[in-house]
């Protein structure tokens, strides 16, 4: 734990944002471009391409957001920028 470092705090915050943004792009759009190929794979009756749009991407979004909240909080604490 060091003193507040505004520049490094924002650099790390931005990096985290970009990582999340790219993941968002992949699971909102990227993976669904391959729906036809993925639909050839089946598990429990689900065609995988359908599953990804109906559940897979959604689960990943939820996990991403809890991870994001924890990571960003870590960055805030590291850089002495956290509340309280």
């Amino acid at each position: 734990m060091q003193g507040p470092n505004v520049v490094r705090h924002w650099a790390r915050t931005s990096t985290l944002m970009w990582i999340m943004f790219v993941l968002w792009l992949i699971f909102s759009f990227g993976i669904h471009f391959f729906v036809k190929e993925l639909n050839a794979i089946k598990f429990g009756g689900f065609p995988l391409g359908f599953y990804m749009a109906a559940q897979g991407s959604l689960i990943i979004f939820v996990v991403m957001l809890f991870t994001f909240a924890a990571r960003q909080d870590g960055i805030d604490r590291d850089e002495g920028m956290a509340e309280d």
């Binding site: 507040p4 505004v6 705090h9 924002w10 915050t13 985290l16 944002m17 999340m20 943004f21 968002w24 699971f27 909102s28 759009f29 669904h32 471009f33 729906v35 036809k36 639909n39 089946k42 598990f43 429990g44 009756g45 689900f46 065609p47 391409g49 359908f50 599953y51 749009a53 109906a54 559940q55 991407s57 959604l58 689960i59 979004f61 939820v62 991403m64 957001l65 809890f66 994001f68 909240a69 960003q72 909080d73 805030d76 002495g80 920028m81 956290a82 509340e83 309280d84």
Partner: protein, 736 residues
């Protein structure tokens, strides 16, 4: 700043216990009503009367509880009224956001959309969840740190002027008003279907339900009722489909078992085509049975992804959602709260495809079994009477009606075929309890859930609209003017509002023989008298709140009067709200946080150009399609399967005398069937979003950079530590 101790007291500390008790009580009510149904029906009472009693029981008990919460949360503190005192823990704010977000359309219509569109309908599931990622990483924590009361507040402070504030208010009104009207229409439809109430009466009862939750306590009351409404709506959504899954597959987890249903549907699809019960998909015309899991049969690939983008970005721009994150105690909690919101929303959205699959399996099994028209199940007739199910092109009101309609078709085999059956999206969730053969009490539960979804969203939207009018327009823009201008603007506003209200309310028959204008005059006189009395005895802060409440009442009355005219178009326009919000608000909001160089001129230009372009595309393609083709280079949209134009001969269609009609109905041959580059109008932000961003960037770079003070302000928004940028001044005034 309002401190937690002051605003929350024992209530916030005991939230867990209170809502657990509430949930338990709700289950007790469900069980009690189920027992009543069993006893009454087994003693031979009229089933219709019993059902209606159960419907009333659910609706009035739940609305009664919401009203009680609303009254208990009444407040005269502006911090509590606008941002719930900023004491709402992340978990509960997540639930409130879930209820705020999931509307009548999500609850009632989403599963049906998935039934009708198959894979392509998942654009809505993805679009209405993934947007929360953008909310969390780009927007919410920074808005929370900024500490505004409303979204337009941020625009005014960040872009240093009241014009950006005004533009934000305009966008907010454009995307929220049709949305709130659609919620009130939803309340009316639910009450009409389950309680046999007159639609218009139901609309005004719904209005009452909305007002008791929001008027006395503002955001504070809306927050705590939304939590209660979330609990009702998620239980109501899950129970029928969980039971159905248990019945069919022995495992009460529909989200897992519907995979098997999907596999069965695929088998049935092939069998129906083989037996001549359904036309195979014709790749040249795009007509025929569309396989449930096959992509891009209703939307082209481009439109599918464009729709996802517009819905996601729209989600991240809708003011009634963003303002929920103003209510958390800290920036950290705001971030966690977005995650909870998404989890709670996810619970409904990942269940919706299961509803669709089970209903489709049921229907396809019926068809594949070669069911004779006389043997159709009762649920088809129940909802056929309401116009939600059609057979052979006519409402399936009875066996006789169905037989007659099909006999009129040439060579009809007398058994139900795929092409004979029409199901409206709304029917799926509503009919599932009956499809599963569950007691009526479950149908009543679904009605209560749908009502909770509609009311909670309407509450949030109304508050967003009323706060934009009272806080942003009146308090921040009109009050600083001189006395004459203030009087002039207020008078014009009152006259316009009253004239509009009278015009809207006069549509329709007299009520019990009394002319409608008399009723309205009586109500207005009463309201003016009450508020005049309160205003005379109030101090400055409470006068401001009083004006907020009056405006809330006026907006609500407007929305209800519009809803009572049953505007078909308005419901369709809700889908526009996402593109409008995305085009108007998103670029300026995101660049405001992430690019210090963005300035006043860039914001104003970007908002005006982005929003106008989006509105232009929507209005022209829907209402002036002929003009779009003649003057703006629009062409026919393409059939997603064949890739050929929907309007085969556009030149011939344009030669028709009605081609250049304006304000055409949805049935017009060109309406919503033309556009640029095959982009559907609900995805119009695909054009305006990049143009909005570019305009802000280019214009900002061409004009002076913001002041050092502004750079410092942005730095402080980016740093969670420290006080909010904009202090809750009024709360301080109040405390003194």
């Amino acid at each position: 700043m309002a401190t937690p101790a002051k605003a929350g007291g024992g209530f916030v500390a005991n939230l867990g216990r209170i809502y657990a008790l509430y949930t338990g009580a709700f289950f007790v009510v469900v069980v009690a009503l189920a027992a009543y149904e069993y006893l009454a029906k087994s003693s031979g009472q009229n089933a219709l009367v019993v059902n209606q009693n159960i419907g009333y029981g659910f609706v009035f008990l739940t609305i009664g509880v919401y009203a009680l919460i609303g009254v208990l949360s009444r407040t005269s503190d502006s911090g509590e009224y606008y941002v719930a005192g900023r004491v709402v823990p992340a978990f509960y704010n997540g639930m409130a956001t879930g209820a705020d977000w999931m509307s009548a359309a999500s609850f009632i219509g989403m599963a049906g959309t998935l039934y009708l569109l198959g894979y392509d309908g998942l654009a809505f599931v993805l679009g209405w969840t993934g947007g929360y990622v953008l909310v969390a990483i780009l927007i919410a924590p920074f808005l929370r740190k900024f500490g505004a009361y409303t979204v337009p507040d941020f625009f005014a402070a960040r872009y240093e002027g009241n014009l950006p504030r005004f533009l934000a208010v305009v966008v907010l009104l454009a995307c929220s008003f049709t949305y709130v009207v659609a919620q009130i229409v939803g309340t009316g439809l639910i009450a009409q279907r389950f309680l046999n109430m007159d639609f218009e009466l139901a609309v005004y009862v719904g209005l009452g339900g909305i007002l008791v939750c929001s008027m006395l306590g503002g955001m504070k009351a809306v927050t705590w009722t939304q939590v209660a409404q979330y609990i009702v709506l998620i239980i109501a959504y899950l129970v029928p489909v969980v039971i159905l899954s248990g019945q069919k597959y022995g495992i009460p987890i529909p989200q897992l078992t519907y995979g098997q249903a999907l596999a069965d549907i695929a088998t049935l699809e092939a069998q129906m085509i083989k037996d001549g019960l359904a036309p195979a998909l014709n790749m040249a015309t795009g007509a025929g049975l569309k396989p449930h899991t096959a992509p891009f049969t209703s939307y082209s690939q481009l439109n599918f992804f464009a729709l996802i983008l517009c819905l996601m970005v729209g989600t991240a721009s809708l003011p009634h959602v963003l303002m929920r994150y103003f209510t958390t105690p800290s920036v950290r909690e705001a971030r966690v709260s977005v995650a909870w919101s998404l989890l709670f929303i996810f619970l409904l959205y990942f269940t919706a495809p299961a509803y669709a699959a089970f209903a489709k399996l049921e229907v396809y099994s019926l068809i594949a079994k070669k069911t004779a028209l006389a043997d159709l199940p009762q649920w088809m007739f129940t909802w056929g009477k309401a116009g939600l199910v059609t057979v052979c092109g006519k409402a399936a009101a009875s066996i006789e009606a169905v037989t007659a309609a099909c006999a009129a078709l040439p060579n009809h085999p007398g058994i139900l075929r795929f092409q004979d059956l029409g199901i409206q999206a709304d029917a799926i969730v509503i009919a599932t309890p009956e499809i599963a053969g569950l007691p009526y009490v479950i149908a009543g539960l679904v009605a209560a859930g749908g009502l909770a979804a509609a009311l909670s969203t309407a509450d949030g939207l109304l508050l967003a609209i009323a706060n934009a009018l009272s806080h942003d327009l009146y308090y921040k823009m009109v009050t600083p003017l001189n006395r004459v201008a203030r009087l002039l603007i207020s008078t014009v506003a009152v006259v316009v509002l009253l004239a509009g209200l009278y015009a809207l309310f006069s549509v329709g028959a007299p009520v019990s023989g009394i002319p409608r204008w008399m009723i309205l005059t009586g109500v207005i006189a009463g309201v003016v008298a009450i508020f005049g009395y309160l205003y005379a005895g109030a101090n400055e802060v409470s006068r401001r709140l009083l004006i907020s409440r009056v405006l809330l009442l006026v907006v609500a009355a407007f929305a209800a009067a519009t809803a009572a005219t049953r505007p078909a178009d308005i419901v369709a326009m809700v889908a526009w709200a996402f593109s409008l919000a995305a085009a108007g608000i998103f670029p300026a909001l995101v660049l405001g946080v992430w690019w210090k160089r963005a300035n006043y001129a860039g914001c104003v230009a970007g908002m005006i150009i982005g929003f106008s372009l989006c509105l232009f595309y929507l209005v022209v393609t829907r209402y002036f399609p002929g003009y779009g083709v003649a003057y703006f280079g629009m062409t026919s949209l393409l059939n997603p399967i064949s890739g050929k134009p929907i309007i085969a001969d556009l030149a011939k269609a344009m030669a028709d005398p009605n081609a250049m009609q304006a304000f055409v109905l949805q049935a017009h041959p060109l309406a919503s069937k033309v556009g640029w580059m095959d982009v559907n109008n609900i995805s119009s932000a695909l054009f305006s979003l990049p143009i909005g961003f570019l305009t802000i960037i280019i214009v900002s770079l061409m004009t002076a950079r913001p002041s050092q003070a502004m750079y410092d302000l942005i730095d402080s928004i980016r740093c969670p530590r420290g006080d909010t940028v904009m202090q809750d001044k009024d709360a301080v005034v109040q405390a003194h």
